[in-house]
């Protein structure tokens, strides 16, 4: 599955990076293709290209603050998951994000 994710966390610098690593790790283990944008203390790192966003089958916002440049996702359906949850349970959280997506696909 092609996945893009954004991580951002109010709690601190390190949490944002831990969440990014957790998403990356879970995606790698599940055999997914993943691109992650980190919205942290240094601004936006690894900024997603619009084409990455448009091609993604799953968009994850592992954030507990607002996403910067949210308009890039205006017609999308991002799945929101708490970054802390992603850090504690990377694989389960990814699974949860995929499952939240499924019903909407079915209804199409």
């Amino acid at each position: 599955m092609k996945i893009v994710a954004i991580t951002a966390c109010a709690a601190g610098i390190a949490h944002t990076y831990m969440a990014a690593e957790a998403v990356k790790k879970a995606a790698r283990e599940a055999g997914d293709e993943i691109k992650i944008e980190i919205q942290g203390a240094m601004g936006i790192e690894n900024r997603l290209k619009q084409s990455d966003i448009d091609d993604a089958e799953l968009i994850i916002f592992a954030v507990n603050i607002s996403v910067r440049d949210r308009d890039r996702f205006s017609d999308k359906n991002p799945i929101l998951i708490d970054p802390g949850e992603f850090i504690s349970n990377p694989n389960k959280s990814l699974e949860k994000a995929k499952n939240s997506l499924l019903p909407k696909h079915r209804s199409l």
Partner: protein, 169 residues
Amino acid sequence: MDNEFLKISEVIKPETVALEMNDVTCKAQAINRLAGMLYQAGHLTDLDAYIKSVYEREQLGPTYMGNFIAIPHGKCDAVKAAGVAFGLSKNSFQYETELGEGPVKLVFLLAIPNQMSADAYVAVLARLARLLVHEEFCLNLYNASSYQDVFNAILTGEKLLEDLSNSIS
């Protein structure tokens, strides 16, 4: 962005690793113990000023990361050379912050010189945070019985991160 910045494996030393922190029962004891090691190892000019900067940082946001991990840090003039102290408490102790608390077994205390750029500072933290997500890394630390074990765990972890960032954009 990672490679130009400080690696944990480059600054950690035998004198700044404590594998027997079972007598530590609270956060203050852990920070005092690890800061004392950084001082003894020549990273600090003023122990009290450094500890004060660690607590000031604690006010800004939690350094308790969940999963038995805490990464307190201080950046101030009392740090003359960047350093990392690592403490292992197999029994765990309670680590309390403004926004929650939990049991901690692995503590990394960072000492960052004031002149280090904000980007480099964040990069060191980011690298450590990334390492700590990998269970293998944490397991290797839990099971460490010597400085060499800790050092090897960090080297292996850093290598893994490099491989990952090369393979996944």
